[in-house]
């Protein structure tokens, strides 16, 4: 597995890191049965991030599964990490890259492999969401993952640089290029105006579960 990442700056989401650490400590105390807490806390974010690398839902889930099983095997590594959430993201990144190397799957902008959920009150935005995901998939992998970490995980460029092993300026320039491309791809699409809180919403009350919704 990867070496322990050393983050020079405090993470911008301390509450998530703290909760990840609590879950890891619980796994240390109670064994792998306590992995459910960590799964519920992080699985959706991790699959979302891994999707930006693997471009395929099955591969992304395989990467997340491998990383979480590894955590259950050695929970102390995560519990003792200085910044557990970026550490876990980096674990998933390493697993995703391994899977990519092993399978050599070609990427496509097709979204038919995705398992999507849209709540009833957000149904009108479904097409916009699909356009966003299609746009992110059309980006180069290194730009797509920066967008995911910056916008959905609210990381700073320094933290993104630490996770990816690149300077923060490189992460910032990748983000800038990605946003330029996305602004062209998403021209004309409107989104909900009250969506300033990234990925803070729960999944209660969701409906319209489907694989490869058109």
């Amino acid at each position: 597995m990867s070496t322990r990442p050393s983050f020079s700056r405090p993470t911008s989401s301390p509450s998530l890191s703290d909760r990840v650490r609590e879950s890891a400590v619980r796994i240390c105390e109670s064994g792998p049965a306590a992995l459910a807490g960590l799964y519920d806390l992080t699985s959706q974010r991790l699959v979302r991030y891994s999707l930006s690398l693997t471009r395929h839902q099955h591969d992304a889930e395989d990467a997340v599964q491998a990383a979480l099983v590894r955590v259950a095997d050695r929970p102390r590594l995560l519990a003792r990490s200085e910044h557990p959430w970026p550490y876990l993201v980096r674990m998933v990144r390493n697993e995703s890259l391994l899977i990519l190397r092993r399978r050599g799957r070609t990427s496509s902008a097709d979204l038919s492999d995705l398992v999507t959920r849209v709540s009833v009150d957000e149904a009108e935005w479904a097409e916009t969401y699909r356009a966003v995901w299609r746009g992110i998939r059309s980006l180069p992998v290194e730009q797509g993952e920066v967008v995911v970490l910056k916008i959905w995980e609210s990381m700073t460029f320094a933290e993104i640089g630490d996770v990816l092993g690149v300077p923060s300026s490189t992460a910032a320039s990748r983000y800038r290029y990605a946003m330029e491309k996305l602004s062209h791809a998403l021209e004309g699409f409107a989104g909900p105006t009250d969506a300033s809180e990234p990925s803070g919403r729960g999944t209660e009350g969701r409906s319209g579960v489907g694989r490869g919704a058109r």
């Binding site: 049965a33 519920d40 889930e61 997340v64 095997d73 699409f189 989104g191």
Partner: protein, 169 residues
């Protein structure tokens, strides 16, 4: 007056942020992850238990072999070298050594080579293997000497003399 470029960037970021929950993990992933983690934990525990038992068995064999090798001498020294006590000492020590000897002999006959040499070749741990090999070698030489003593005793019986005290059976 707000910067239109910045406003467009913020609007785009909000649009992307809103679509974060659009994709979800499949429902099967949760039980799969938990089951796999549980199975791996069980397997690891079994492996640890097996390793502990193997280590304990190795320790027993090593300690038993070394005690068995010294037992006859200790018996003669402590109990004044009487014929009966010496015989008991050899019998008890022989039981310990006999088990170890049979294991070593089986290993040797299977490989068709000298048991000591094949044992040390098959053992990966250098120190323990050396010690075990020494124990086997010591016991083997004692056994050879014991056989020679037995032959002498039998010869004496054939000639009409009684068995010498302390002769191994």
């Amino acid at each position: 007056m707000s910067d239109p470029g910045r406003t467009a960037r913020e609007r785009l970021e909000r649009l992307i942020a809103a679509s974060g929950d659009y994709v979800q993990p499949t429902e099967d992933l949760r039980p799969q992850v938990l089951e796999l983690a549980r199975r791996q934990s069980d397997g690891r525990r079994e492996g640890c238990r097996l390793a502990a038992w193997t280590l304990a068995a190795c320790l027993c064999v090593t300690v038993g072999g070394s005690i068995g090798g010294r037992f006859p001498t200790a018996g003669r020294g402590q109990l004044g070298g009487s014929g009966q006590s010496d015989e008991i000492g050899q019998r008890d020590g022989g039981a310990l050594r006999g088990w170890w000897w049979r294991a070593a002999e089986t290993h040797g006959s299977a490989s068709g080579a000298d048991s000591n040499a094949s044992f040390s070749r098959s053992s990966s741990g250098g120190g323990l293997a050396r010690e075990l090999t020494e124990v086997v070698g010591r016991w083997r030489s004692e056994r050879v000497l014991g056989r020679a003593g037995n032959d002498q005793a039998k010869a004496r019986v054939r000639k009409g003399g009684g068995p010498s005290p302390g002769a191994s059976r």
